[in-house]
Subunit: 344 residues, 2 copies
DNA sequence: CTGAAAGCGCTAACAT
DNA sequence: ATGTTAGCGCTTTCAG
């Protein structure tokens, strides 16, 4: 059963293939009567344009690459939806790939994106300084990074105000009476982790609190990473009375560690985390910096589509506002209430 | 910067485009010396074949569709990796889509797969009886279902022995002394949920235990669904002493519900779940039926690739073995030990 | 406003 | 064993 081609439609409608093409692509110079005939014929034959042929001819694909550092993380899943929705609203489809925070995998997928001549790529880079995007550059394939930035090239990005958000969260802990605040921080070579750590330090400095380096423990962006770092932090003799965890999966691990140690929030330690963890289901009411994940994906894709359309503008770093949701895990001061604070 | 075409390579190598094509596609009838020249020219020019042109000519794409019912579920994430690995090992790429258990979305993605002329589709169907695959059939695009089967058409599938696994798990609960066993079951119109429920009933019947319909509570395959069903089940006056939860996210919800009710495993109720939940991080040692998710994906893809290659064989329902991992949450009988039992 | 014709990059018949 | 040619389905000049 051969496919229905534009010639078949043309034959049925009694016009030339060129006219069919014009009608289907919304060229308005076609007589209304003819256009109707063409549309009728197309729908009668259940005609489906062949994308491959079209993009061979027009030298432009309608596929975006979405390269994510950890697809298991629900933050990226919401984000991916934002990308998909924005893309499909404009007739683009999305190929999803997962790098597992692995630089080699990332490199492979970037090569593939270039080889497949994708129209553009949305990337959450595995590293800030070692991610290489030459393959894309060579083919002039536009790129937008999300959640994180890279320092190896000037590239559009969409992130939240990580530094300010972290500062706000830690300042809140200080206001709740914490004087010795630990941070479970992410990998060194990731911009969001750097910014969140910087925000933590800003808050301590502003309050004139100590910045004991032992209060900073790093780990992978995983449950295990958060658990291990928290255990290191909370097993010390002079235990922190406040804890800021810079990632959602790590926050889950931190909760596990506290449970293991028999410590309670907020009595033993006031806790603030980063990113939503409502998917968890059984988490206590946690104070969290919440990111507009879906919006990040949507915004990044719209930016990318403008680049693809040939729009020329300076490199943009779009910064969306996060929100500090204050809940019970951090409330130790008398009279404090749960609240929701947009940051900046 | 125009793209390097096969003609450019031919010109540099001093041969015809056809020869270049032959060399690059491994046609052995080309003289070794010429072949070397061609390869040298190709690599010197950094030539990348244009997939679109190739598949326009050969009328065959190398893209598989992977349509998943819930991408947030880590079970499907592992599975997706199995699909990706098997596909890329054979030079196919994978487009991932997420239906959220929504029949309309599923239908849309199936249409897209057909419109894009994908080489084949791997699908975890949202329903057993209402999922329609005509769009694929019309274009003779092969399909393999995973995790679940459909009853609307004869289609290859790869699942685990859900019924036997559920029976084994529930029999284990009975052996541990449970006499009133509840089940948190999945949606009615999903084959795996049906099979797991049937296995539960098999076990009760074999042991001569009551099958009170109130002991079966259904819910969505979500944390909330499992929580609500468990609350309904455990709030009754004659509370079950054993609980079988037919899905991983639901198991998380069940744990949340038990915590809310102040009930402990295995003292108040012996618990067995389905699917791994190690990603959770803070779960107690749980008795679980574990599925080879990665293998399911790999196997399904290999089957699909055989169909794509034109292999003719009867419709296959591949059934992989699950494993019952017995851990503390179900151990109430004196002298019982954690064990690992392959099923069947 | 519409049609004829060329060609995107590739491969497969057909020649040689 | 290699080259020549045609054409996959589509869009886009260029004529009319």
């Amino acid at each position: 059963m051969p496919q229905v081609t534009i010639r078949d439609v043309a034959a049925v409608a009694g016009v030339s293939p060129a006219t069919v093409s014009r009608v289907l692509n919304g060229d308005s110079r076609v007589a209304a009567a003819l256009a109707d005939q063409v549309r009728a014929a197309a729908s009668r034959l259940d005609y489906r344009p062949n994308h491959q042929a079209r993009s061979l001819r027009t030298q432009a694909t309608t596929v975006l690459g979405l390269i994510i550092s950890d697809i298991q993380n629900p933050f990226f899943t919401s984000l991916a939806r934002g990308v998909e929705d924005a893309a499909s609203a404009r007739g683009f489809s999305v190929i999803l790939a997962n790098t597992d925070e692995d630089l080699d995998k990332e490199q492979r997928y970037l090569q593939i994106a270039a080889a497949e001549r994708m129209a553009g790529v949305v990337l959450s880079p595995a590293t800030a300084t070692r991610t290489r995007i030459d393959a894309l550059d060579n083919q002039h394939i536009p790129l937008v990074t999300i959640d994180r930035r890279i320092r190896t090239a000037a590239v559009d990005s969409v992130t939240v105000n990580n530094r300010e958000a972290a500062e706000t969260a830690v300042t809140h802990l200080i206001e709740q009476g914490c004087r010795r605040i630990g941070i479970v921080a992410g990998r060194e070579d990731v911009s969001s982790a750097q910014d969140r750590l910087a925000g933590y330090q800003d808050a301590l400095r502003a309050a004139g609190l100590e910045t004991d380096p032992e209060l900073c423990q790093r780990g992978e962006f995983r449950v295990e990473g958060g658990r291990d770092a928290t255990l290191r932090l909370m097993s010390r003799t002079s235990r922190p009375d406040g804890l800021f965890v810079a990632n959602n999966l790590m926050t889950v691990g931190a909760l596990a560690a506290l449970t293991e140690l028999g410590l309670y929030c907020p009595d033993d330690v006031a806790l603030a985390g980063f990113d939503d963890i409502s998917w968890l289901g059984l988490a206590p009411p946690l104070t969290l910096v919440e990111q507009p994940a879906y919006e990040i994906g949507r915004t990044a894709t719209e930016l990318l589509l403008r680049r693809i359309a040939g729009d020329e503008f300076d490199v943009q770093d779009v910064v969306l506002p996060a929100t500090l949701q204050i809940r019970r895990s951090s409330l130790r001061a008398a009279g404090s209430e749960p609240t929701s604070t947009p940051i900046r």
